[in-house]
Symmetry: C2
Subunit: 195 residues, 2 copies
DNA sequence: GTAGAATGAACGGCGGTTCAGTCAACGATC
DNA sequence: GATCGTTGACTGAACCGCCGTTCATTCTAC
């Protein structure tokens, strides 16, 4: 086990392959070919096929949450923080569509099959959003009776759905363009009197 | 091929089995056992395992869209229509959690694998929501520059995320209780001044 | 007796995993 | 510097269990 970034190469290959065919329709040998190595080599670095997916998921989600945390750390205004999160979320999907496709699709399966493994990483992202919302409530910028948990899920769900449509669709527009309207609608609402 | 509701029994059994284990981790023989028939019998009514899922999906989504259409047909106020859709969405998930789990999880795979097969049914639901929003804009009840497509995806995504959390979680609360806050946040927004 | 539905054991191929063999790098010895 | 031995990563053909699918046979209703 010399090569220290061989696991990374395998994960990167797996992202491309899983994005193309889905996890269950991908062969371990497909991942190997994509990585330019033999099928058996994968088993020097991962115990099972499942472990590739779990590792991939954990690693990328952890990176992602850290990135978002950093991006909003220097910002004082909670509303602006939300705008940044949305913008960053879409930017990331746009720049890494293959990774996005895997995370989007397997996320739910993940909830089911890798409960312990992935729940932590996902809920960390929810926590980031929820913390900002709570902050906004305390600062009086958001309704003080706002149900934070519900609002958190709504924002995540909204972003996730826009992302899914874009990823699985023809991608004939820039997802980033949706960031501003999504943030605005979430923050201000759709009522004519709610401007 | 006498028994006219045998296919229905198979689909109902499949819903329970797929909900429990996921599509790819379910055996055809599991579905058969759950339905109280032999494995071979399934192939008198369905050509392949895939066809069970596709049929299930089409049938339930079509039913669902028809139900929602009916429920809002008698209502004039677009805002109230949205409230009804949200309430109905959550009520349906709550009453049919197994079905919900299958649709939630396989929906995305479905987008990928059964493009032609499922895209139509899903987009019909999006159309129902989009039509209501457009109606609201025309009636002056919603912002006139509202990006309807984005808002549609946001509402669907928000409902879907609440539903997913509830379905895959411990279900220690009534999902229906979230209907009012979700509708209110979507309609009025989260800004303190947006009430 | 017959038609056609239902059965479930058996088939076949697919694919995750293994492992005996290959190869490359490196140190030791001359 | 050439030769050899050793180590351990790497290979990929083969293995083997799994499961979707089939079909010869049995059952049932009329």
């Amino acid at each position: 086990m010399r090569d220290p970034d061989k696991p990374q190469q395998i994960i990167d290959a797996a992202i491309r392959v899983f994005a193309r065919n889905g996890y269950y329709n991908s062969r371990v040998s497909d991942v190997a070919r994509e990585a330019g190595i033999a099928a058996g080599t994968i088993y020097l670095y991962f115990k099972t096929k499942d472990e590739i997916l779990v590792t991939l998921f954990r690693e990328k989600m952890t990176e992602w949450v850290a990135l978002v945390r950093d991006a909003i750390a220097g910002e004082a205004d909670p509303l602006e923080k939300i705008r940044r999160i949305v913008a960053l979320h879409f930017k990331m999907i746009e720049e890494h569509p293959a990774l996005a496709e895997v995370l989007q699709v397997e996320l739910r399966q993940g909830h089911k099959f890798f409960r312990g493994a992935s729940a932590q990483e996902v809920s960390a992202y929810f926590d980031v959003i929820a913390d900002v919302l709570r902050e906004g409530v305390l600062a009086g910028r958001l309704r003080k009776e706002l149900p934070v948990k519900v609002a958190t899920k709504m924002l995540f769900g909204a972003m996730d759905q826009l992302a899914t449509s874009w990823v699985l669709g023809s991608r004939g527009y820039r997802l980033s363009e949706a960031a501003e309207p999504v943030a605005t609608i979430f923050l201000k609402g759709v009522c004519a009197d709610g401007v």
